[in-house]
Symmetry: C2
Subunit: 290 residues, 2 copies
């Protein structure tokens, strides 16, 4: 049976890069740390640290152990926080991951129902879909908002729930939008430089289908992972871009951006992904209800 106390000391040593610093940080004697780490090595049957110069270095086995320990103690920390939060009457802290493929404006609109929660402490993290999924599994996020469902594997510990399905509109810089282009929409897209989300996003797949169905031959001048970045490049005149209408009503009043048109039949779905196990965060439940 692995001794987690020993592991903790080992982890601290490898993080601080030496027994002396680790002992100082832990407020303990150096010999103790040394002895305990040695115990760990004995119980695992392999050397984890080797001398290097006047310090130490990780062996291969040590590096493997380090990686795992990192995750273990990260989860330990998350556990304590989670327990503290659960029973604290209403929960005030909510960690949300916002996938890059999601319109930031839509995200804000979706989080609306809980923004007036008293004493709310909202922690927003951004990143790629996969990265956020990992954090969800490690329980350092309560909820992920994304444009793509996680496959609803029954024996898995994640649930995806479609929050909304919002129509998609096209916006562009004033330089490119005039009465002609608006009237001729969507045919006018063929004459305009187009910005699109990256190929692996669900919205992109829907749009490709739509182009095909409409028989549109378009000129793609840019592909973006992050929709906010895309809108910045669009406002600077690079091209026109699609975005979920949800929360984008005031995008037309953004300096430099005008509404080009709304493509019927193309929707951006927004999903909430959260852990199946355990209690659900009350704020997550509130979001799901509307």
């Amino acid at each position: 049976m692995l001794n987690y106390r020993h592991l903790y000391y080992f982890w601290m040593v490898s993080k601080e890069g030496g027994f002396a610093r680790a002992a100082a940080r832990l407020g303990m004697a150096v010999q103790t740390i040394s002895a305990q780490v040695r115990e760990l090595e004995k119980s695992l049957g392999h050397q984890l640290l080797k001398p290097l110069g006047r310090g130490i270095a990780l062996t291969e086995a040590g590096q493997a152990a380090q990686n795992h320990a990192e995750g273990i103690f990260q989860m330990g920390k998350a556990l304590v926080e989670a327990v503290q939060d659960t029973a604290k009457g209403r929960m005030t802290r909510l960690s949300v991951g916002l996938s890059d493929d999601l319109s930031k404006l839509a995200a804000h609109a979706l989080l609306g129902p809980i923004l007036d929660t008293p004493d709310l402490r909202l922690v927003c993290r951004e990143g790629g879909f996969e990265r956020l999924q990992v954090d969800l599994a490690l329980h350092s996020l309560d909820l992920v908002l994304t444009g793509r469902p996680s496959p609803d594997n029954p024996n898995l510990y994640l649930i995806s729930h479609r929050l909304v399905s919002s129509p998609v509109a096209w916006y562009g810089p004033a330089r490119l939008i005039d009465k002609n282009t608006v009237d001729a929409f969507p045919r006018s897209l063929e004459r305009l430089p187009i910005l699109l989300p990256m190929g692996h996003s669900a919205l992109r797949v829907s749009l490709d289908h739509w182009f095909h169905a409409q028989g549109l031959r378009i000129k793609v001048v840019g592909e973006f992972e992050d929709s906010a970045l895309m809108s910045v490049f669009a406002a600077r005149g690079l091209g026109v871009f699609p975005v979920s209408r949800l929360g984008a009503d005031d995008l037309g009043s953004t300096p430099g951006l005008l509404l080009l048109g709304c493509c019927e039949g193309v929707n951006e779905d927004i999903y909430a992904i959260f852990s199946r196990h355990g209690r659900h965060h009350p704020l997550v439940q509130k979001l799901l209800r509307g």
Copy 2:
């Protein structure tokens, strides 16, 4: 500081559903377990278990703790295995995740270089891309083979590396394939029922582009998450389907399946994803070299 031994007992109790059973499983006295779990509750400041009938049940905080503990001890187990494996001269165990969007035949071909490793113990797990990604982060997999790259976030702990880019061929049941359809390929696809991978796979996106570029209007009769399942339905006569040529040479000799044609310009990329940290599994390195 969280006491992992207390946590371990708590976890065992919640898994076994009672102190008595947990004590039996641990070979210890019931009182000990009870006292230790009580210590944990005291240090966390919240009750984790509550009486229910003549047994016990998890409180909300307890459920949160349970979830985290599950991951923690899973990683602890993985840590021990990893350390055992590292120093055992050459590593013999390799845990590979095979993404559903990947042709099983191609996967076998890619793993070829290491299949002759003496004393190899290959652990193959299948699943959705996201699920496997999570297992990679939890270090219960060494490597994931997939048709889609994980975004190469520089400050992230995962690396994707494109292993091969293999052309895609179409196969179908004898009932649908004859000299006419082969000669008229790819135009003949318009007259054939088509099976395709699910919309979120990278191959699907490439194919949609290809259909569009060729001006093909096709009839999709099935979409599959799993390419192996797709080939089974195809062999039974449901339709024709695309598959990476890599490792598929002998697919033509599979009872009931014939080669229809090869679409130039459409490639299935296959990526290897693995953890950036620590030493890389020697077998993973061997795979990357070729």
